[in-house]
Structure formats: C-alpha cells, structure tokens
C-alpha cells in the first residue's frame, strides 16, 4: 500500500497496470496557457480537468498562478488542439532544411558594413 521514496523508488519491482476501473463522468482535460507579463505571448503551462470553461479558468488561476506567474490565462479543451504527427518527424519539417539563404548569416559579403 505504501512506497519508499517520494519519487516512487521503493525498491519494488514494477507491477503490470491493474484492470482499469470504469469511469463515471470524468471532467474533460484542458490545456492551460499563461501570459507571464504584458507584452509576452501566452506559453503552455500544463493541463487540468474541469467541467466547463469558467471552472477551468478558476482552477488554472489557483493551480498555475499562485505567485503572480501570470496576467492572463487561456484554457483550451485538449481535444480541440490539432497537432503535427510526431511520426512524420523528418518529412513534415523538411522544407526549411538546406535553405540557409533564409538566415541573415548566409550573407557574408557585407561583413564590416555598418548598420547592416
């Protein structure tokens, strides 16, 4: 029933996960984005469960901004986020590769010229 260290290392062997228990009505998952101060973008802070958007915002405030970490919060239903496919690693992000000319550092002839 109890374990060893805070980090779960009690020296016991890992046991296979138990049969999952049927869910009643779990609250949906929300992703939380926090703007840490005016002028900065919202950044993903983590996630939480809440029954609706107003509760998700209140919970996000209590969970992710207990020490003035934010001036604005967005909550987004996790299922509403579309993400790129991690299995497509290479190909999806292929096009910028070999296109060094998109970076200022590609242009070296102007070295020494001021304000350029």
């Amino acid at each position: 029933m109890t374990g060893g260290s805070t980090t779960g290392d009690d020296g016991a062997k890992a046991t296979p996960a138990a049969e999952s228990i049927p869910a009643s009505t779990p609250w949906p998952l929300w992703e939380v984005f926090v703007r840490s101060s005016r002028g900065l973008s919202h950044v993903h802070a983590g996630s939480l469960h809440a029954p609706d958007a107003p509760m998700a915002l209140r919970n996000a405030r209590d969970l992710y901004t207990r020490r003035n970490e934010g001036v604005s919060i967005w909550v987004v239903p996790a299922e509403a986020i579309a993400a790129s496919d991690p299995d497509a690693k290479g190909s999806f992000f292929e096009s910028p590769q070999g296109k060094d000319y998109r970076h200022a550092t590609y242009y070296t002839k102007s070295e020494g010229v001021k304000h350029l």
């Binding site: 109890t2 980090t7 983590g46 299995d87």
Partner: protein, 335 residues
Amino acid sequence: MVQNLQAVSDSQSEQVRESAASGQAYFDRIMAEDSRIEPRDWMPEAYRRTLVRQISQHAHSEIIGMQPEANWITRAPSLKRKAILMAKVQDEAGHGLYLYSAAETLGTPRQKMTEDLIAGNARYSSIFNYPAVSWADMGAIGWLVDGAAICNQVPLCRASYGPYGRAMVRVCKEESFHQRQGFEILLELANGTPEQKQMAQDAVNRWYAPSLMMFGPPDDDSPNSKQSMAWNIKRFSNDELRSRFVGMMVEQVEVLGLTLPDSEIRFNEETKMWEHGPLDWNEFREVLAGRGPCNAQRMERRREAHENGAWVREAAAEYARKTAAWSAEAAGVAS
C-alpha cells in the same frame, strides 16, 4: 499536457511512418544525445510503465503528504504561521496535480490513478505514514522532509521525459520556500525556552532517519535504479543522493544549535562521500507493507475526502451540462 491531441497526418507522413524498430532507434538516439522524449513519441513499453508508476506514486505522495501538515493548520501558533502552513499545503496539492497531468500524457487516465490510490492499490512515500505529534514537527517536516524531497527532485528536472521534467521545474521552484519556512520554525523554537528547544530537538530526532529513508533502499537493494539511470530518468543513485543530503544537514543543524541523532556521521576522505549510521530497513519494509504508524489513518482520510467531495464533482458536471444545453437552445432561438 498534450496527450489527447488528435494528430493531423499528411500523405507524405503516411509513407514514412516508422516501425517500432526505427522507433527504438530514434529513442536510443534521444537517450544517447541526452535529449527529451515527448508524449506522442514512440517509447518502449517498459519505459512508459516505469514512468507512469514513478510519476503517479510521486503525485500520490504529494496528495497524501498534505495530511500530516493540514492536521496542524487549526493549531498553528499564530495567524502568520497559519497562513504560511495553508500556502504550503496548497502548494503540495498543486504538486500532486502537476504530476498527475504529467502522468496522464502517458495515456493513463486521471480517474484510474485516483481510483488506484483510493482502493489501496497504489504506493506513496513511506515518510507520510509517520505522525506529526507537535508543532515542532511542522519545522522538522519542512526542513528534513521537504529538504530530502528537494535533493531528490532537483536532478529530476532533467529527466528524459519532457512533461515530468517540466513538472519538476515548477515543483522545485516552490519547494525552497517549504524548506526555509520549516527551518525558521525550528530556529525560533531552538532560540526559545528550554522546553521549546527540547521540542525542536525531539522533532529532529524523530524525523531524521525516516527522511534519510526517503531516498529509497541502498543501491545494492534497488532493482529499478540501474534501468532508470540508463533511461536518463534518474541521474544519481539513492546512496549518492542520501550522502549529499546528510552533508547539507550536518552544516545546517549547527546553525539551528541542535544535533542530528546520529553519532556515526563522517566525511569519507577517500570516497568523498558523507556517511551515516545504520538505518532500520526492517522498519522501512514494515511501513512499506502497510504496517506503519499512520498508514490506515492516511488512507481512511483520503477515501473520506474523495467520497465527501463526490457531490461537488457531480454538481459541477451537471451545471456544465445544463448551461451548455441552455446556451445551445438560446443560440437555436436566436437564429
């Protein structure tokens, strides 16, 4: 964080979809480069299982860990101490929630983890099965227990699983206040009346050995450690972390004007490690087996809190359902 996100795959990606073999190669490369694995990456089943187990146990420890301190909120000696203790206990609830979120990204639902804990199928840190019998225990818990937790958690900020590392960064930022407020409680008692000083010493005496055991069994008796280190989850062994912790406490206890109940502490010049007296690993195993002083009480309290909160969870879900239905109806009328 982001687990349930639907992936948008393009036709190109379908063609190059990786098999488990190339998934393993990718995973191995990430490990070799000491980079990070993110939720939707391919990972070995055992890596996933180890993480779910470790992160959920860690979360349960934060949640159960609220009890010994919450128990003293109404009896705090001043309004200031009461406010501080409430803030700390609230932080621990937050730590539990950050960690449950991280575990969820591995595909284990929150509800399942909650049920496992309530049903007594999950583990949590043995330290929280010891009683907090005096106000000085609030000091000793903050100083020793949160102190040991910090020692354990700082290297976990670099754990190879991204969401776990990020949760730990957030946790570690908050923990230093926990340890300092505990230290301050002890310092004030140690500089108080002889009775108060004795109370502080007594608390340190009781919490010292259990806090050393928080690092887990000795290295030669820790079957999971090697694999966890190979996977860049764990960065230092149990004994290394314990030794580091003892070294820090030896210095700090002098500032308190108290002593550690261990006459065998010494710095080994050869190994450059701090050594301590023997720990009662039988007691550790007893507490582990559910026979610690407070196991039954902690579980009972957690179950009660969960059951007593059921109506709140249900009412909130029902309110959300009804307001959604009403606004859908209103939108229908308007159009």
